[in-house]
Symmetry: C2
Amino acid sequence: MPVKPDILKVTATAKSRLFQVEEIELRFSNGVERTYERLATRGRGAVMIAAIDEQENVLLIKEYAVGLEDYLLTLPKGLIDPGEDAIEAANRELKEEAGFGAERLEVIKQMTSAPNYMGHKITSVLARGLYPCRLEGDEPEEMEVMRWPLSQLDKLFQREDFSEARAIAALYMIRDKLKQE
Amino acid sequence: MPVKPDILKVTATAKSRLFQVEEIELRFSNGVERTYERLATRGRGAVMIAAIDEQENVLLIKEYAVGLEDYLLTLPKGLIDPGEDAIEAANRELKEEAGFGAERLEVIKQMTSAPNYMGHKITSVLARGLYPCRLEGDEPEEMEVMRWPLSQLDKLFQREDFSEARAIAALYMIRDKLKQE
């Protein structure tokens, strides 16, 4: 691997309730200096859950995404709470957002979103052995749950209201994994 | 689709050179009110390019990602400049970051990254008919370019230094598309 740049200075430049912006001064190994901005990373990361039923359907939720000001189809997801690991967080979020618990959960991959601008990580989790179980979460409204056949991912990804790269990546990885089992 | 929440108020709460944070007050159709924060969306979006050579290898770049403070393997990508469309931006970024132009480019899908927190969109582009051509970009150092067989994506995604969800999603979509051609 190349030699990493030296970090010369990190300065907090803006702060809101949720976000904190840092300016970071770097010197690359060739001597070039650059100043970048990034979002500071706080918390324990997030999980995204692909819950697969006995008929090889995946559970999707319809959720309002304030960044797009629209409802989107996506996978259940959420932040890892203090004291939880990724598996525990995944089972809790699945119960809160989709109304199901899972008997078998396994980590698929830790993914990054926009690593040039933030360090945020999300762990995709495969959940199987589903049973009805609803936990009260902090959602402002109940989410509509839809089942979609894993064999028809191409049709799902053609939909304009299914656009989240992390969900597309997670579903393909899981489809490939299940084919190999 | 469900009835969208009413947007009661949008307030700018923090601003840096690159980022602007907004607080947004909503009333959902069930009457529940919530206040969220999101990053304001500026600019024309971004492109991510999967350039495939005659042997069905994809061109990867090794790039320093300041959000993770490490080098990552990923696809060439960048912001769409004023006056460009996604295809033009893709061909320019490919020349700047990988040193290749493409005779045939096509849009695969417009993807979102973290739509609960930002409206940013990135368009994945398939590039074929590659020829050597380097444009000077704003990169602080020359990027190492690596060719990876499309038939071995599973091995690529097992690597810890290949983690970007948007790149995983783009490569799977393109592999599926090429299989069907």
